[in-house]
Amino acid sequence: QVKHPVISLRFVFIFIVQMGEFKVHRVRFFDYMPSAIRAMVFSTRTERLALARADGALEIFNFSDNYFQEKVMYGPRRVAVEALCWVGPRLFSAGLNGEITEYDLENLRPRYTVEAYGGPIWTISVNSQGTLLAVGCEDGTVKMFEVLKERIQFQRNLDRQKGRIISLSWHPSGTLIAAGMMDMIRIFDAETGRATHRLLVDRGAGASKSKEVVVWSIAFLSDHTIISSDSAGKVQIWDGLNGTLIRTHLITKWDVLALSVSQDESSLVAGTSEGTVVQFQFISSTVDRLDKDWVRTRTFKNHSHDVRALAHTETAVVSGGMDTQLVVRPLLDKVEKNTRESAMRKVSFPHRSLVCCAKKAGLLLFQFPDHLELWRLGESDGYGKLGGSLPVKRGPEKLIQLKRKGEDHICCSALSPCGGWLAYSTVTSFRLYRLQNGSISICKVSKLPKDLLPAHQLCFSTNSSKLFASSSNSSVVVVALNELECKYLGTLKAKYGCRQPVHQLSASDNGKWLATANTDCEVHVYNLDKLKLHCTVPVYGSCPTAMAIHPTTSNLVVVHADQQIFEYSLVKKEYTEWSRRLQKQGLHSMWLERDTPITHVTFNPKNPAHIIVHDMFMFCIIDKSLPLPEAKNVLYNQMALRSLPEPDRVLHSHGFKICKDFQHLLCVSLLEDHSLVVVERPLLDIVSQLPAPVRQKKFAT
């Protein structure tokens, strides 16, 4: 092993030859299709964004931790969530099934569900005091629910209206509530329940005159200004005291589906079906005038399809819609220019792996919401030239497509390294299968221990003799597997007070250690022989996004959402020398500025100095024996290095072998035969599967 930081050029030369070539299985047959974004809500208090997708999935993003997708939950059934609402740290949702659901954010499942008895619910809104929830129903009622400590209780109905209630907004004082309906807006007195004002909304011009206009979204400001957005493409500003229209901004020919107002009520954004987000600001129209007005200021076009959901944070506009991407667009007057905060973010892929690779068997398991696919990789013989592709002797093969039982989403799945076991879990059921690889048979294992539910993350030991499932209260259930039988061995419990779910599991190759990471940023390492806590890695302020235990040195490598990398020696219970060196010198700024998290860590069994990590746009082989990239130099990636002449290449090469040949990565793994597997899902393929966007008139058509 070479540990010396100063390496002679000659040695580097030899080493390059050693690093050499990789055979890469480039996989594009994972038809992963994210679901459209339906609703989102941002909590300024916790800096968390809750997001609901059309397939019923709920995601929580931590905006204070590099927009990391902390949690993913699925409702009990495939129900489209129509609206979301934070009440303090509690999250409520309402949907067209007519029910209000509160979520258990620690166990990642619905806590309870209350039927509102008003038909489909279109909107939910909480007053600023956090005491009353109002929901708008299809039957024209606004129903009030009292928020109690453990549940919510129906309080009363406001005056029933003709026509559905599409949108709701409380006045900050909590005494008034505005409701957007078909063709009109109603203002209710929240105490008496009487409707006090009726504001009629114009229909669209021309042919759409006969169509009812839908007030898609509404906002009630503290100065009694009401802002509405509707299906005729208008954003209208109303005087809520007198019920008069102040101003109309026609911003699109299509629908304006979403509105969001900043906390200080000085700026608002509106999202349209054309995919644009239009910002309005409360400013005086000319410099010397004192009276302020809502003025249209900026237009962002980051979406190809309808913008269904919007959130206005302190510094950014967050938008999402039919094109499934979450876009965080910082407002450049609120952030410092050319910093990490001022860069636009697009979240296209989940921040966790949906692919499981059986390294020994050469199998890939793809997780879809409603089924699993098991594929065997192809083979080739012979050698091709560098940069070229080899003739495929045997193509990839889809061995099994396994439909999930029941209605629930698959929330996690795993494939054992030998390819002999397959496990998946939904919120309500857990299933384990034995796979016979030669003859492709699948056999369900019955009599599973009950403690396996609910499982948030699954992991097999390297020799496939054990299955680990993360369970409630940060605990991990250990199950022993042998032929057609599985036995409960015990539960690994962290210290008292740990409640957040474990989202990362990693077992060591020698079967001795298991590392767990939870969304409270805690990393625990258990001794599997004793089934006891071995040590806790010092807590770092950012959530771990991927980790793995080195097969030979038993060092734990943890990568965090802020792109930091740590290596912790489990034997010595301290950070390794390399890790300290890395922290001392600091990671290269180009590395830190990447905007997608590392989602997988693995090692090269042939060279213990290699750590293989990947994010969405690159994979990187970190060679610990090579000098780290220096902050003052450019961080050359492999493509740039290739274009350099030989001597320069040696000069500029460094320990981070970043390869960007493959993009939109869902998984990068190293098989036992030393060939790489990269699973790509080109965004273009996703876009091509989206429905057609609204028709835009182009010139001369």
């Binding site: 890469v24 480039r26 594009r28 030239k385 940069g387 592709s389 495929v392 290739r642 290449r649 001369a700």
Partner: protein, 722 residues
């Protein structure tokens, strides 16, 4: 360019759904451009006032009867004629309410259609090809009707046109896949039969349209494969002997329309004027394969001039009356006004006046439908103006004169009175009416001024030009008159506002402007914007001088140089100094700028340019060089908002001038420097362009390199890491 304007729907008319046809049997012109008679496929005839989008009256035949031919309007007797149940001819007037009480006559043979066009008598065409004038038929309704067509032959389409001398009934028939055209003359009667050339087997024409121009009848027909043919028949063709074989009808391919996938099903082509064809049911070439488009094609240049998507199913029906297209589509029946201005080579080939921002806000010379229909809404800014004129109108309505009176007045009255009355008329009249009257006023004024040397009303003419409803073709004498009377302000306005000044007039103006002395020019009052622009341009020259580039300095320095190279150096510097000086006066430059900005076509301009004297050419070239130099300096871009010639216009004119006078210029010693200078520019430009070409080449190479090979679903690759 032809244009389609915003359409509107004729209310109360919905074509039947789920049927192959639209439910509209025919649309016929009524008394004026605002009325049409629409016959639906069953029992109903409706009279519409088009601009109001509403029916004026509606007549229905009794249940059990059907209308089998579209109703027509006989303008002479102000009666409507329709055919019901194939044999019953019904005639009624507008104030008849119940159709069944109106006049009826039963004839002895099946009627195909009744035709009537303005200026002609109603004609009845029978199913078997016989033709009768309605009057003669009604005198003996049961008269025997001969059979003209052979038994298998059937009429597919028919129409009726009136020429100066004769009335024609034209109809096409089909017999076993062959198509024939019949030309029936009336008074004296004669019948000609033509055989249409066969298209691909199995294809029969989808639609016909006929027009009469220059003593020829032109038949336009569209095949399902998108081919539009035109056949021309002379109205004076010798009458062939009876019973002769059908003559072959020569045809020429006018257009080959894109059809997208498959053949056209329901489509129709309608000739709008000699150069334009409206087509419905054919895909738009740049909008995929959807066939629901209405397009106007220019047949001379084979260009698509305007297109509009029609929502819903297209039934392949299209009528056009008075610059309006009538189209049933989906559930609606739309009226779409169109406009096909005469296309000139210049406008088609692009040496147009440069489209600038300010031009878009100028009122178009053609009143758009929006402004006509929703005037208040569309032009809120003009309400103030109209209010003012309205008050004017009130106060003056008593003594003000009508248009015709003013026209009479112009012919005789003294200058002051004419000016006053024209102003009054202009301030009073609504803009719609102006369009017609302005032309008359201007041409009368111009003709009187030409005949009467003492008479000239510059202010009135300027006012008329300012309305922007004038153009050169309306009043061809105006520019020459202005030149003759040395009214350069009017000249400038004409050059500015007239889109169609012929090259010969442009050249005449140029000649006058360039040979005018600067002193004279300085006295001329010109449009302030253009003067301001030129002032700015020249002012920059002075600034450059101030920044240590003055002439005196340069000469001092060059004196100190050694003898040999000094003269050449001095020449050069003198030349460059001269380039910095504007070779013409301010006002003259403004006028020349106006010339530079007119539309023209090279081949027409060149012969007239040759008439310029070589002195003028040199001066003009110097001026062009001056402007070019100014423009090529980064500091002096053509100012936004002000009217100014563009760099390309300057270059084009330079090229034209050199083309026209090259031999003369080469022989003239004084111009050598100038030519060398220009040559230098060209060389540098060529070098620049070739560099650009190189860059383009390397960029393309880059593109090719970046071109990723298509990666399938799966591949095994070899990569190398360093």
């Amino acid at each position: 360019m032809a244009a389609l304007y915003a359409g509107y729907t004729l209310r109360g008319l919905a074509p039947a759904q789920n049927r192959p046809n639209s439910g509209i049997q025919g649309v016929e012109a009524e008394r004026d451009s605002d009325h049409v008679v629409v016959t639906d496929s069953t029992r109903c005839v409706t009279l519409y006032k088009v601009s109001d989008q509403k029916p004026l009256s509606c007549w229905t035949v009794k249940q059990g009867h059907t209308l089998t031919g579209a109703a027509v309007y006989n303008a002479r007797t102000q009666e409507y004629v329709a055919v019901s149940d194939r044999k019953v001819i019904r005639i009624w007037k507008e104030d008849d309410i119940i159709l069944d009480k109106a006049f009826k006559a039963t004839v002895s043979s099946d009627v195909w259609r009744v035709h009537c066009v303005a200026g002609g008598d109603p004609v009845v065409l029978f199913h078997r090809g016989a033709v009768r004038l309605l009057d003669s038929l009604l005198s003996a309704p049961q008269q025997p009707i001969e059979e003209v067509l052979s038994p298998e032959e059937a009429i597919s389409w028919s129409t009726n046109i009136v020429t100066e001398s004769q009335q024609f009934v034209i109809f096409t028939t089909e017999q076993k896949g062959d198509h024939f055209l019949y030309l029936q003359r009336l008074n004296p009667n004669s019948l000609q039969r033509y055989h249409l050339e066969r298209e691909e087997p199995g294809l029969s024409p989808l639609s016909f349209s006929v027009s009469y121009r220059d003593k020829h009848i032109r038949l336009l027909y569209l095949y399902p494969n998108g081919h539009v043919y035109e056949s021309v028949v002379s109205v004076r063709a010798p009458v062939p002997e009876e019973g002769a074989q059908a003559l072959p009808l020569p045809r020429s391919l006018l257009l080959s329309l894109p059809v997208g996938e498959g053949l056209l099903q329901a489509a129709s082509a309608q000739e709008l004027d000699e150069a334009h064809v409206a087509v419905v049911g054919v895909p738009h070439p740049s909008a995929g394969s959807g066939k629901d488009f209405l397009c106007i094609w220019n047949t001379n240049f084979q260009t698509l001039q305007a297109g509009k998507e029609m929502a819903g199913k297209i039934y392949g029906q299209l009528w056009s009356f008075w610059n309006k297209l009538f189209i049933p589509h989906g559930k609606t029946f739309s009226v779409i006004p169109y406009d096909c201005p005469k296309s000139s080579l210049a406008s088609a080939l692009g040496k147009q006046r440069q489209v600038k921002k300010d031009e878009s806000k100028a009122p178009t010379s053609v009143p758009s439908w929006n402004t006509l229909l929703h005037e208040e809404k569309a032009h809120p800014s003009r309400t103030a103006e109209t209010r003012k004129t309205r008050t004017n109108r009130k106060s003056q309505s008593a003594q003000s004169l009508t248009n015709d009176q003013v026209l009479e007045l112009i012919k005789t009255a003294p200058v002051e009175e004419v000016q006053r009355e024209v102003q009054l008329l202009l301030s009073r009249t609504d803009t719609q009416d102006l369009q017609t009257s302005v032309g008359q006023l201007a041409s009368t004024l111009a003709s009187r001024s030409l005949n009467d040397p003492a008479f000239y009303t510059p202010s009135s003419l300027v006012q008329l030009v300012h309305t922007r409803y004038l153009c050169h073709s309306v009043c061809p004498d105006l520019v020459l008159l202005a030149l003759e009377r040395k009214d350069y302000f009017l000249c400038q306005l004409c050059l500015q506002f007239f889109p169609d000044i012929p090259e010969v007039v442009t050249c005449a103006c140029l000649k006058v402007f360039i040979s005018m002395s600067d002193v004279d020019a300085a006295k001329v009052n010109l449009e302030p914007d253009s003067v301001f622009f030129m002032e700015a341009l020249i002012a920059q020259e002075h600034e450059a001088g101030l920044n240590g580039f003055s002439l005196a300095d340069e000469e001092d320095r060059s004196d100190n140089l050694a003898e040999g190279g000094a003269t050449a150096q001095r020449d050069n510097e003198k030349a460059s100094a001269a380039e910095q000086m504007c070779p013409v006066g301010l006002h003259k430059a403004v006028l020349l700028n106006e010339i530079l900005q007119t539309a023209y076509f090279d081949s027409f301009l060149l012969p007239h340019l040759k008439d310029l004297s070589s002195q003028d050419v040199v001066l003009f070239l110097q001026y062009l060089q001056f402007v070019y130099l100014k423009f090529s300096h980064d500091a002096c871009k053509p100012t936004q908002g002000l009217r100014s010639p563009s760099l390309t216009q300057v270059m084009d004119w330079m090229g034209l001038l050199l083309d026209a006078h090259f031999t003369v210029l080469v022989m003239t010693p004084d111009v050598k420097d100038l030519l060398l200078n220009l040559h230098r520019f060209v060389k540098s430009q060529v070098r620049f362009v070739s560099e650009l070409g190189k860059i383009e080449g390397s960029l393309q190479e880059l593109d090719k390199m970046a071109l990723k090979r298509d990666v399938g679903q799966y591949s095994i690759e070899i990569i190398e890491l360093f």
